[in-house]
Symmetry: C2
Subunit: 571 residues, 2 copies
């Protein structure tokens, strides 16, 4: 928007493009409701007040107008869709800005992956703010498709592709001064540095903050969040598909500290985005939980705009982006109209043509990302003792238990034993065909037969398989590899359901509604094999993440996350 | 402070340099008081909590510890002292950061003046954040020593000498899109852009904000401030020597909007700084006026740190600067100990040796800044009609009245007439000896005889003289010129009092206590001549400022500030 033209409209010397008349403007600066008109020129708010003329006028009849919502931290890849399809899902819910961390694709394809996500997000009505993935790989106890050091990330900042540094999950590395980690912090000095330090407290937390980290989204209790907020971290309250902290943290929020609190979704699957919503759902839940509606909205608008220095949005004021939501009831908060950059992009929960955009063509390195040397994949586990360490999966949690259990041994091999809910798990390095392979056992997934496989396995995204027998596991693994990445459920030598994820093995190139349907078929197939979990694929994908306690499996084998060290399978 | 060393102290693995034990920490994030210890390493806060060891420990016996205060907008030159002497005055009052606008010296000496102020402020225990003067000159209706365009200012930003753009006083230029003004805004895009738009409202204000201006310190009424806050401007409440807005604006402040409010002093003379104080005085007055002490402190700490993106200060948290105040009573708020960058710089209101620093040597262009061609200075005013426009000075206000009055005519000349409190005023261009000279009349200064002269005349800082007869005016003018710049009171052919201001004609090179004594003698001398004003020199200095209504005099003559145009003296 040309500034001279914007000023002319603001002054009233030229007509606006659009005037919203008779609005109840929710002013997040003053915490007041103003009955007024809002004039829009191009993608900007030009003026507030009576007397503006425009080519197009909409009489809002005293409906509320709020700023568009900001998701303070989200991995778009977890929607299993490309940025345009993620946008198609969240825009009708009123999310107009997403602060994203493309660390899933970065672990597969490095800088190429980050550039692809930025390109696929450019020009969307959803503003995508890209943070630089800080932990590729997360630790040295996994093999990823790429490694990103400070000197890889700094050029992205210089080019303006990234805005800050995304969640620094290697919190021991920060606190204990790992030079490679500190080099990344130094490269982003003065920019927002997002944190990830579950349960970090006391002097260790002081050091984490002293290093320059300025936010945290892993809090699970009010006491943990209160300490982190008091030390200066912005608290990003998270409501992910598999990590839901909002209700637990509502007691944290007071009018005297809420300015330092934002909302984020982190990881949400298509069904959650399409059915429950995104940040809008969190705002509704916060209000239902007793938070003042304006405070709840500030956590989703002004607060993240301040936290990330995004001063061109987050409020309804002259010169800011015309990202605006219209709703009839502030408590119910169901946006009826969604404007992004001055364009009406959604109405009554449906995306309008102005909100649609295709993804750019895939670079070759993202299209063919699965590389496995099958001659080196042998899932059999020679028994070395009678006892094994077993990952104990807990429903709806990312943390696991370490269980020491007797192995079921057949012909000298430790095998899966569905009768004890003891399934075999394999993590097959799939980026460089290195033959690296981790094997173990897991309880809590509940398959009585068959196997699940997927190329979504946080954060290294190797090929993860869980099954009741080796033949099913191999079929499932081959199936997703043959898809060029994806998810599959097999049993009895048949593929029961599958979802191709050709974009880096992480994302579909199809519309999100189709992805959701396919995903529903996958979970139904897993349920038909006995899994009681509402989302066994999301569960499986986090069983390979060695930065969340207690016992996880990567391609190098079992990892004791409390000790932050590999441990043997047999005890 | 080396980050590895800081982290080691934060973790508790190495002793701190200083631990403040048994503190009641005022936490501006949580708005709570924490009983705890504070560990300091070098110039930084390392950790908060029990168990830290240190070479030096101070038992605070439950005294309060607050962050150091931030003055959100101040012209150091108005203290008539150099930055080290200004620091000596405000540090004992707990001000540890000053966001400064060196636009007085910039109008005299351009970029050289800005560089001098930055150099004189570098390394002080008082952190000086320099904003780039945006209005040199303020308008085309004055002649200054220098002219600064966008291309002059941009290099200062690139070099890191300036942090943002200082008060953009040419508010019509912003609103109506003056290309030279917009070029300055564009050069500082993404940086803090301070405003100055007295009484600007409605669509004109919308345009001013749409251009990117993000603060305002000229509000005088709660209604004006409420509108500007609602449009997205941070409100910097000002308590200057000659413009005291705090009490009028207290009703603006609520817990729901206070995050967008800061405090500033703008222009304060030495006696005010030394006797009443600075931001500390404003905090006390706000608390006495009913503002919650933590809200009052946030306006002087966290809020300005957020407004200016100064995330390394403004709160007590790991990694932030150890700028800390200790006081026994939060309501009385009289800092007993002042730490700046971890050093104890003041105790019981007295500066300690660690707080002292000398000013750097003066560059030649600042040392000899008064250039007048006296052969072209003729103060007589041939009468062209019987009626003149007279500046009506109003006590303690910067705004004036335009009064149409009969001239007193003697021998065909319009002359001063003390019997009617009608004094003559002259503004003599003093930078380039151009001979430019503005003449007029003023009421409200109250001299019955003699004259006042000074080289402090906002913002062009030409030589301004007000007197009861031409001979006294010429003597006063020559006196300050012979001093190399300064202030003087004369009567009966004698110099009654004077103060040399050799640094650009604006600042003394002497300690601030000496400056204050000399200034007291000047005002006493003016009082002896009949002036009822408590500070006639400050009053005079603003009678030449053509960006504050209604009628002012510059070296080009009378300016109607409502019309923003020159007007003739005779009606």
């Amino acid at each position: 928007m040309d500034v001279m033209a914007l000023l002319a409209v603001a002054r009233g010397d030229q007509p606006a493009d659009l005037v919203l008349r008779n609005a109840r403007l929710v002013n997040v600066f003053s915490s007041a409701i103003e009955e007024t008109d809002i004039a829009i020129a191009g993608d900007r708010i030009a003026g507030i007040g009576a007397g503006y003329q425009a080519a197009q006028e909409i009489d809002l009849r005293r409906a509320y107008v709020t700023p568009g919502l900001i998701d303070a931290h989200v991995h778009i890849e977890s929607s299993l869709c490309t940025p345009p399809q993620f946008a198609a899902a969240v825009l009708p819910h009123g999310v107009t800005t997403a602060v994203t961390d493309p660390h899933e694709i970065a672990n597969v394809a490095g800088v190429s992956g980050i550039r692809y996500m930025a390109a696929a997000g450019a020009g969307l009505p959803l503003s995508i703010i890209t943070m630089a993935p800080s932990c590729v790989p997360a630790t040295s106890m996994e093999h990823t498709g790429a490694r990103l050091d400070a000197h890889d990330l700094a050029p992205l900042l210089a080019e303006g592709i990234v805005h800050g540094l995304a969640e620094v999950m290697n919190y021991p590395g920060v606190t204990y001064g790992d030079p490679a980690v500190l080099a990344k912090l130094a490269a982003f000095e003065g920019r927002p540095l997002d944190g990830h330090a579950p349960a970090w407290t006391g002097p260790a937390l002081n050091a984490y903050v002293a290093a320059g980290i300025s936010s945290e989204h892993e809090c699970t209790t009010p006491a943990e969040a209160a300490e982190k907020l008091a030390r200066g971290l912005y608290i990003l309250i998270r409501q992910a598909t598999n990590a839901q902290n909002l209700h637990a943290l509502l007691p944290l929020i007071t009018p005297a500290n809420s300015r330092r609190i934002c909302l984020c979704t982190d990881d949400r699957v298509p069904a959650d985005l399409l059915d429950a919503g995104s940040i809008d759902w969190m705002v509704r839940q916060a209000i239902a939980g007793g938070i003042d509606p304006i405070v709840a909205l500030q956590m989703a608008t002004l607060n993240p705009s301040e936290r990330f220095g995004l001063h061109d949005r987050g409020a309804i004021a002259p010169g800011r982006r015309a990202d605006l939501l219209v709703c009839d009831d502030l408590h119910a908060f169901s946006p009826h109209l969604v404007f992004a950059g001055g364009q009406l992009v959604a109405e009554a929960g449906r995306l309008l043509p102005a909100g649609r955009q295709d993804a750019p063509p895939l670079p070759p390195e993202l299209a063919g990302s699965v590389h496995v040397d099958w001659s080196r994949v042998n899932l059999s586990i020679p028994a070395r003792s009678s006892q094994v360490r077993v990952i104990g999966h807990l429903p709806d949690q990312l943390v696991t238990e370490e269980r020491i259990l007797p192995a079921t041994i057949v012909d000298g091999l430790a095998v899966a034993d569905p009768s004890r809910d003891l399934l075999k798990m394999a993590v097959i390095e799939r980026h460089h065909a290195s033959g690296s392979l981790g094997l173990g056992f897991i309880q809590g997934i509940g398959l009585r037969a068959g196997a699940l496989a997927g190329t979504v396995a946080h954060d290294h995204h190797n090929l993860v398989v869980i099954g009741a027998d080796d033949e099913s596991m191999l079929l499932a693994a081959h199936t997703v590899a043959d898809l060029g990445g994806g998810l599959a459920v097999v049993a009895g030598g048949q593929v029961l359901a599958s979802l191709p994820l050709p974009v880096g093995g992480l994302m579909s190139d199809r519309p999100i509604a189709e992805v959701r349907t396919a995903y529903d078929r996958l979970t139904a197939a897993a349920a038909s094999l006995g899994s009681p979990l509402h989302d066994p694929f999301m569960a499986m994908s986090f069983m390979a993440l060695e930065v969340i306690p207690a016992l996880k499996l990567t391609d190098i084998g079992l990892v004791d996350v409390v000790q932050f060290a590999p441990v043997p399978l047999f005890v």
